[in-house]
Symmetry: C2
Subunit: 207 residues, 2 copies
Amino acid sequence: MRCLVPVAADSPKSRLAGVLSPSERNAFARAMVIDVLLALSAVDCQPTILSTACIDNDRITSRARVEVDDRPLTPAINARLADGEPTLVVMADLPLIEPQDIQRLIDSNTDVTIAPGLGGGTNALAIREPSFRVDYHGVSFRDHCRAADEVGATVNTIDSRRLATDIDEPADLAEVLIHSNGAAAEWLTAAGFELETTGGRVGVSRQ
Amino acid sequence: MRCLVPVAADSPKSRLAGVLSPSERNAFARAMVIDVLLALSAVDCQPTILSTACIDNDRITSRARVEVDDRPLTPAINARLADGEPTLVVMADLPLIEPQDIQRLIDSNTDVTIAPGLGGGTNALAIREPSFRVDYHGVSFRDHCRAADEVGATVNTIDSRRLATDIDEPADLAEVLIHSNGAAAEWLTAAGFELETTGGRVGVSRQ
């Protein structure tokens, strides 16, 4: 099935501003995209990156076709869904993702398959119902369940920690260092981040 | 297999102090225990609660045997593991847990099966290797992988968002309201909590 990976090319990951400079956020976001593309290529999925601007990074452009679309996420995806083709949408900030997670999405035979993110978001969608449309605003997991229901589509929710872990906030960086050794984890380590045990959940510190 | 559910009966959930009073934290923690016990009973698992103090709550004591053990978590569990009996350890603060999640733990045939929590913790363990011992301090997920390796045990990690979502911090309450309609979700709703969309991840507010 067609696979779309939306990427916000300008000022990505603003909630990491407290720990990363703008150019670092950009580099870290690119590393996460590479992790997602590597997982996709391992299951022979040829993704198209929907980017808000041109991407000048060989490690990305060698692995995916890039389509520039400067519309917000929701209309950019829905414009593609209009042709009714079965579509997988995978967020670009899922560095824990593994090939078998994508396989679960591809193998699911419901009309709409949702992998929720932490905090009510939608991190991946496999869409086989031609009339389903996305809406990434607000508690999008709930909205997507409701939208599927409204068009009479069967829905399956994928219970995956790896797919749920989108990296948005400083505390999320710990998940990358704990559970991954991919490009994003490598980037964080090279930038001086390490795990810090504080008594509650493990966080990160930077040297 | 034997199933242990450790419960901190005194002053539970201290990191929720900003949003819940001591007696509310106590009641909310009890509601989460009930959600865990209901999931266990649905797969015919007869749990023993290891509590640091007596529990006077019919909805709990009717569903599980309670053993009072005032030692910290790690020695209390390891004292039971000493007899070599296969043991499932499930944390009491996993209100999203569903029967099939417990079944996955029971069905896993590796010597040690780990369901990591957010922030490097260990939310559930299925232990079939008699010489394996737990250590819940620090990045316990990593420590448990290492400990299994040291005794030559095979290890499997369960990739489950529901098992990963332990409820420790105010932001976690949103996960309960989004994904559950069990006792903990009911308690939060009755206490006036509702979802609040702030632009990033969904949080909660209280009326």
